[in-house]
Symmetry: C2
Subunit: 181 residues, 2 copies
DNA sequence: CGCCGAGTTGAACTGAATCAAGAAACGTGG
DNA sequence: CCACGTTTCTTGATTCAGTTCAACTCGGCG
């Protein structure tokens, strides 16, 4: 699954190379403010980012982005509205910033690359299907085990609370799950 | 939200018109067998279809497709593998069948229409985000109320069990939710 | 040192699942 | 048109996973 992501990301970099800007963030930095127009996607080269939003005042992790991963305010980009998502660097990170407007313009001129954009979206979609089914059919422990297999590196680098909200459980529950296995 | 879907579907019909085949199904008909290569998308013109799959022997509704909606074995199409989804007509229905292979070939020749395909995928994605967040943050009653607002016609045409599994609850729970409000 | 955020642990509570039994609705054939 | 069996829906009693709330531990770091 992840080699697929890697291949796709490399393709993305080679196709959009001319409009990508490398940026570095240090640990804790805000990459993109919420409640604003999120105009970029970020392709992670090293480090770790997280997107999150607030639901009744509590911080909910929407997505973790590890190397070769992509993160962005998808709602803002797809719906042309202010984003609910904040993006922050959980570790010192290097990313390639891709302005969505520039990408659109580029694709306008080079529609033969639309396919790559579509594949990125397909990947996002399939990812979400997996998370959705996890919520539907797996209990807290199973979701966590699945997460550990999928993102082994995150277990040390993301905090309990961040992971718990990503998995749709309280941090107390995740803490108990961890102890019990 | 739904006028957007309607606009997109009309665009889809006008762009791919030459490779769409009208087909009719009577109530209860199997539109596409599961466990096979699902090679088509279906654009609903009238009636009601449902896609579903089996999870530990129980029938889970993945998607309802009302007029202007689209249904297909997305897993099969995106991952090139046998589909877990079955598609059936819940009412006598008229659809436009779009063979995915033909669509790919068509897009190969006319990449300027890739954008339309991407928009369809975006819509599927945003739909799924909404369902995901519903599962995360809403209780059984809230999910059902949301469903009623979104698909008012389905309440009479789909069975309790079909709706319950779509919403991620048992049919007993849905029955109680209905009584209580 | 003492504070502060992050994680742990405990006890009580709760929404929904499960299991089991009936009631209603439905269609099919006599 | 009724009788029958099947499927769909309802209702009740019980159980359980996970939440909530509250207190406590631990490990830095000023």
């Amino acid at each position: 699954m992840d080699y697929l992501l890697e291949a796709l990301t490399k393709q993305l970099i080679s196709v959009f190379g001319s409009i990508l800007s490398p940026v570095s963030y240090k640990k804790g930095a805000v990459v993109q403010e919420g409640n604003s127009l999120g105009d970029s996607l970020f392709i992670v080269q090293s480090g770790l980012l997280r997107s999150y939003y607030f639901q009744n005042g509590t911080d909910i992790t929407a997505h973790f982005a590890v190397p070769f991963g992509i993160v962005g305010a998808v709602d803002s980009i797809l719906k042309q509205q202010r984003s609910i998502y904040w993006i922050e660097a959980l570790q010192c990170s290097e990313v390639l910033q891709l302005y969505y407007g520039q990408m659109e313009a580029f694709l306008e001129d080079n529609p033969e690359y639309e396919r790559v954009a579509r594949q990125v979206l397909q990947m996002l979609y399939l990812d979400l299907v997996e998370r959705f089914e996890g919520l539907m059919f797996l209990n807290a422990q199973e979701r966590y085990m699945h997460f550990c297999r999928r993102y082994p590196d995150l277990i040390q680098n993301a905090s309990l609370g961040h992971i718990a909200s990503y998995l749709g459980m309280t941090q107390e529950t995740l803490s108990r799950v961890r102890r019990s296995k």
